[in-house]
Amino acid sequence: MKTNRENFLHLVWKARAAYFFLLPLLFGIVVFKLKPLVEGVRLSFFEANIKEQVFVGFGNYIKMWGDPLFWRAMGNTMFYVIVMVPLILLVPLLIALVSTKTSRTTQSFFRAAFYLPVVSAGIVMSMVWMWIFQSSYGVANYFLSLVGMDPVLWLATSSGSRLAVCIVQLTWSLGIPLILYLSALAAIPKVVYEAAAIDGAGPFSRFFKITLPLIMPTVVYLLIMETIGRFQTFSAILLMTAGGPAYSTTSIVHRLYQVGFVSYRFGEASAYGTLLLVITFIVAFFQFRYLNKKLEF
């Protein structure tokens, strides 16, 4: 036993240079990720403002549970997840499948077109969307009128603003899945398709029997990351709708922000944060478990 430990310490000492190289990263992760994480869970059991903290047990959670705004935020967030995740998985796949059949230049045009909104600052883009969605002189309603549709009161009604949040959020959510799909598709060897063509497989059976199984790891990765990500829908809400009208677009993270940085009730806001953490864990756990099983045919 003793020799084992000595051996271990000897190995550690021998590799001291490696630990030295890791030190800044580990310091950063501990101080700016792990400590705040633990602290956030702890705070959720306290009534806290900038000056003082009082232990209240599950008080914040009970308060959150009884708050109608919490349930609004939960409902809206579920709506965002259910509407956006399938679109974020499917539309980039369609774009990738079509654009790989075009020339290299066209392909890079599509990649750039869908990636540009990703690099554009979300908050800055939401300013232009406020103008586009303006109900009387916004260009969105002008386009609708061109195809003979009635104007939509985008940011003034609950259904309109919820739709607006989804549209705006989607504009900067397709670029990364597209790039990942394109590289996954490019990795499939051409001979596989040639062999299938000789066997007389049509385009649909080629897609479902060859392409889809081969890009499945990318699909699974995106499903996990995007589900977790859409539970955190926030940046399209913060400035464009501010959660309104009448809290119809507020989300879990938007409530966290409002309770924390507008009302300065840090304990209650941390309860929202802890809930988000739990949701993230559950989503990751179930999707990893369930999908891993399904992947091993």
Binding site: L11, A15, A18, F20, F21, P24, L25, L26, G28, F32, K33, P36, E39, G40, V91, L94, I95, V98, S99, T102, S108, F110, R111, A112, A113, Y115, L116, V118, V119, A121, G122, I123, V124, M125, M127, V128, M130, W131, I132, Y137, V139, Y142, L155, I176, P203, Q232, F234, L238, L239, M240, T241, A242, G244, L256, F261, G273, L276, L277, T280, A284
Partner: protein
């Protein structure tokens, strides 16, 4: 049959691509219009009498130089920090063997799954307690925790031949000399990609600088332009708001179009969000 589907698909994604590019164009168009031209129906799709008045309004704000300075300081510091931390740790994980390596690596990777919003309030309180509220380090120090950058660096450095390191060691190079004279010079593409990601990420960052700053002393450009003419749920002067947006977007677009290749390789290598 499949030809028809291809053509339909191509039409669909072309329309979608134009729709996705449209808001960016609308920002620049709006920034060149003044007064009530923003509210004309039918809208002007081309600036008939372009004017730089909205830009002049923002540039003549007494605090504009300060915002630019703040943004430069924060962006450069956070890029320098996160890129060097990513390269140092990526090198250790790629080329060194040490006890608990896998445990430390996967723990670091797992922290990427932690939602930023969970740590927002405690991080804010920590900074406040350390006296870093409304200071530059308060804004840029959290970029030390760059597990994504580390992963990208590890992926890149592990493709380099280990013989380079071995032969340098035989020649008597120290650990630091190996890193700075052997590894760093051949990592230029990696460092370039990391710099671009980090620079763009920090330049346009909004929420953290927003809660971390209270005065013009440290306010960054992205935070300043949104508070200038936009209130939650509405815009005051559309021209000024669009010019502000354009001032944030122009540097980003210049970087994006000059280094598009890096963005693509960065995402496919590390799955980092840009």
């Amino acid at each position: 049959m499949s030809k028809i589907f291809f053509v339909l698909g191509l039409v669909f994604i072309s329309v979608l691509a134009v729709a996705f590019l449209f808001p960016s164009y609308w920002v620049f168009l709006g920034s060149l219009m003044t007064g009530i031209t923003h509210m004309k129906i039918p809208p002007q799709f081309w600036p008939r009498s372009p004017s730089l008045k909205s830009y002049a309004t923002i540039l003549s704000q007494g605090n504009f130089p300060r915002w630019v300075l703040n943004t430069m300081v924060v962006t450069i510091c956070s890029t320098a920090l996160s890129v060097s931390v990513a390269c140092l740790s990526g090198y250790a994980f790629a080329k060194k063997e040490f006890p608990l390596k896998n445990l430390i690596f996967w723990s670091a990777m797992a922290t990427m799954m932690i939602p930023f919003y969970v740590t927002l309030i405690p991080l804010f309180l920590t900074m406040k307690n350390l006296g870093l509220y409304n200071t530059y380090p308060g804004i840029f120090l959290p970029s030390l925790a760059t597990a994504g950058g580390m992963f990208l660096a590890r992926q890149y450095i592990s493709t380099l031949p280990s013989e380079l390191i071995d032969s340098a060691k035989i020649d008597g190079a120290s650990e630091l000399q190996v890193f700075f004279y052997i590894i760093a010079p051949i990592c230029k593409p990696l460092i370039g990609a990391l710099c671009i990601f980090s620079f763009v990420g920090s330049f346009r960052d909004y929420l953290w600088p927003l809660v971390m700053t209270s005065t013009e002393k440290t306010r960054t450009l992205a935070v300043a332009v949104t508070t200038l003419s936009a209130r939650p749920g509405g815009l005051q002067d559309i021209g000024v708001a669009m010019a502000g947006a354009a001032l944030v977007m122009i540097p980003i677009y210049i970087i994006f179009f000059s280094f598009q290749k890096y963005f693509v390789s960065g995402i496919t290598l590390g799955g980092i969000k840009g």
